[in-house]
């Protein structure tokens, strides 16, 4: 296997949460562990999906990967370099090579900027010579299937539809010819009829540009459409990691199983069997001991309360964090 583009080691993020009156007197500083001890690698050109419920830390993880927020512990290596220890020049280069696609296209673009200006801004910041701008923008616009026509480039965000806006947001990320993008729920704000267009662009970009991508979503069906590999997160921790096809077909962790079962399908003859899990996410400030999923898990036994399950290899390129899954 070639050198990974991104290596994540023991990545952890704790946020301070508001202190109660009692905490002030007792000198407590309550913290919430949004991401705990995450390890994985991403090869160049690989697309990785991160799925989980809201509050599972998937967005925080995505933001740490491109250094929008810093890690509390652990590190992210990009092309062999720790992103928290980069020099200014290295950081500028990193900012060019790693891009983020935002969730809500309606507020990701500056309403006072024309589309052209929104696309030129990153080129300017990355010190791309001015004579190349036109060609770079035309290239990015054609990748997202938008017309690079003068009147289109001179329009403002409020004149475009949601689908067009999200294409512009994508084009803005691609205009710097990055090696890595993080797309955080890129279609959740869009109508069903235009979603497919954005997903197809992501698929084409994956195939033609050889871009490594992290695609964050709560919808496993979307992830399966775009990503070859998937990570399931629960309450800040990775519970399962493996090829998407294998995870969808045969999920191993009880949480992933529930997630796969919960996705509705557009057919009448589908299972109405009750989900094996009940309740919602526990309070992240005070997670259960041992396995974090144990209070919702239908299989939990004594060992699950005592011991934190480690993510271990189970064969077939898959890793699972569950005491009850035997390696194949």
């Amino acid at each position: 296997m070639n050198q990974p583009l991104i290596t994540v080691e023991g990545l952890t993020k704790r946020f301070d949460v508001s202190r109660s009156f009692k905490d002030v007197f007792t000198g407590n500083h309550p913290q919430l562990q949004a991401v705990s001890d995450v390890d994985f690698t991403l090869a160049p050109g690989e697309t990785l999906g991160i799925v989980g419920e809201s509050g599972c830390g998937k967005t925080t993880l995505g933001r740490m990967l491109i250094k929008l927020i810093s890690a509390t512990e652990g590190k992210v290596m990009f092309d062999g370099k720790d992103i928290s220890e980069m020099t200014r020049t290295e950081e500028l280069e990193f900012r060019r090579r790693a891009q983020l696609v935002f969730q809500n296209p309606f507020d990701a673009l500056n309403p006072h900027f024309t589309i052209l200006r929104s696309l030129t801004e990153p080129l300017h910041n990355a010190r791309v010579p001015r004579e190349e701008h036109g060609q770079r923008i035309a290239e990015a616009m054609s990748m997202v299937h938008l017309p690079a026509l003068e009147h289109f480039l001179q329009s403002f965000p409020h004149q475009l539809s949601g689908g067009q806006l999200q294409r512009v947001v994508l084009a803005r990320a691609l205009v710097l010819r990055p090696d890595f993008i993080v797309a955080d729920e890129p279609v959740s704000m869009l109508d069903v009829s235009v979603r497919a267009g954005i997903l197809n662009v992501l698929r084409e970009v994956r195939d033609t540009m050889g871009l490594a991508a992290v695609f964050i979503s709560h919808d496993l069906a979307l992830v399966r459409y775009v990503c070859e590999r998937t990570i399931t997160m629960y309450l800040g921790a990775v519970v399962e990691d493996g090829p998407t096809a294998a995870i969808v077909e045969n999920p191993l962790h009880p949480y992933t199983k529930a997630l796969v079962q919960a996705v509705p399908i557009p057919r009448v003859d589908q299972s109405h069997a009750p989900l094996p899990i009940t309740g919602g996410l526990p309070d992240a400030r005070n997670p259960p001991s041992g396995c974090r999923f144990r209070d919702r898990c239908p299989l939990a036994e004594a060992r699950c309360a005592a011991e934190i399950p480690r993510l271990r290899e189970v064969g077939g390129g898959r890793r699972v964090a569950c005491h009850l899954v035997e390696p194949a």
Binding site: S193, A196, V260, A262, P264, R267, V268, Q270, L275, G280
Partner: protein, 336 residues
């Protein structure tokens, strides 16, 4: 039939003229049935179902048509008469559960207010009923003392369902009740909702953009596009044998978890401007099967028992369906 909506036309007064948000919509809600209304944003689905409650922004005008609830026309009722039906016969679960609940009041207090103010119960009876309602939707009675911000998204949605059921209405209108929720919570809320629906024999109108949700819970479906109904009928018939190209297109635009990894095809273009809608079929500009006849208003074509599609070519739906399954059919359709 519990509710019949006939030729409903609703306009919004805007500075540039009147926007016809709902244009001649017909549908029925049989007693005890769950009817799904699907379509993309701006298709008029929310306006059409909110009209049933008559709780509308002041710019909305009922231009034509009737909404008959058990023989009485809601559109013609005085506000006073209408108030008698709200909560007691018709309850509404709005789009975002956060909006349904007042952030400065305890949740229990808000349910009691409805029970006392609208239902004429005593405070004591109202308290007992709130506890009963919370038990029905799967929330602990002690959470009645909480404020909405202390609830998670799924719990808030359960609370607003409890609120809607407070006075045992016949008809519950739920607008995108699970859209903001995660798949697991969505499934749990839908399961609770359908269980209550069966137990109380409720009639439900469920507005959503997600055909999977419709497939999971509904008996009938009404597909809307640009202010008009394009297809309606029993869910199984509409999903298995769609008669309108828009419905066929929606199906292809959707990634599915089960089954093979098929290529998706978006419906190119965007819905028409309702200030100035095109003549004839409104889907024409985005339709791969458009012909000259489509410049005329599409006829109602019956495909099966209770299954109607408003399309000139609905007669050939069987062949079109096969062509619509191919991705290339949908590429480069938009003319303008």
């Amino acid at each position: 039939m519990l509710l019949e909506v006939r030729d409903l036309v609703i306009d919004y007064r805007a500075t540039r003229g009147r926007v016809r948000a709902v244009d001649g919509v017909n549908f029925n809600v049989p007693a005890g049935a769950v009817v799904g209304v699907v379509g993309e944003s701006g298709c008029g689905k929310t306006t059409a179902v909110r009209a049933i409650t008559r709780v509308m922004p002041s710019s909305a005008v009922f231009a034509e048509g009737s909404i008959t609830l058990e023989g009485e026309d809601i559109v013609q009722m005085s506000d006073r008469e209408m108030r008698k039906h709200l909560w007691r016969d018709i309850a509404y679960v709005p789009q975002s559960a956060m909006n349904a609940l007042d952030p400065v009041w305890r949740v229990g207090k808000q349910i009691e207010e409805v029970l006392v103010g609208r239902g004429g119960m005593t405070k004591k009876a109202a308290r007992a009923r709130s506890e009963e309602l919370f038990a029905m939707v799967g929330l602990e009675a002690k959470r009645l003392r909480d404020y909405p911000h202390q609830f998670s998204g799924g719990m808030r949605q359960r609370a607003s369902i409890a609120l809607a059921l407070a006075l045992s209405p016949k008809l519950v209108i739920a607008d995108e009740p699970v859209t903001a929720l995660d798949v697991v919570i969505q499934r749990q809320v839908l399961d609770t909702f359908t269980e209550l629906q069966k137990q109380l024999n409720l009639s439900v109108i469920l507005v959503t953009h997600d055909i999977s949700v419709v497939a999971y819970v509904c008996d009938y479906v009404v597909v809307m596009y640009a202010g008009k109904v394009v297809e309606s009928g029993p869910v199984a018939d509409v999903l298995d044998n769609p008669g309108h190209p828009y419905t066929m297109g929606l199906y292809n635009a959707f990634p599915e978890l089960g089954g093979e990894d098929r290529e998706l095809s978006p419906i190119e273009g965007s819905p028409p401007d309702l200030l100035n809608p095109p003549k004839g079929c409104r889907f024409r500009a985005r339709c791969p099967f458009a012909i000259d006849a489509c410049l005329q208003d599409p006829p109602e074509h019956t495909i099966g028992e209770g299954h109607v599609a408003n399309c000139h070519r609905a007669g050939e739906a069987g062949e079109l369906r096969e062509i619509a399954k191919r991705t290339e059919t949908w590429v480069g359709v938009t003319s303008e």
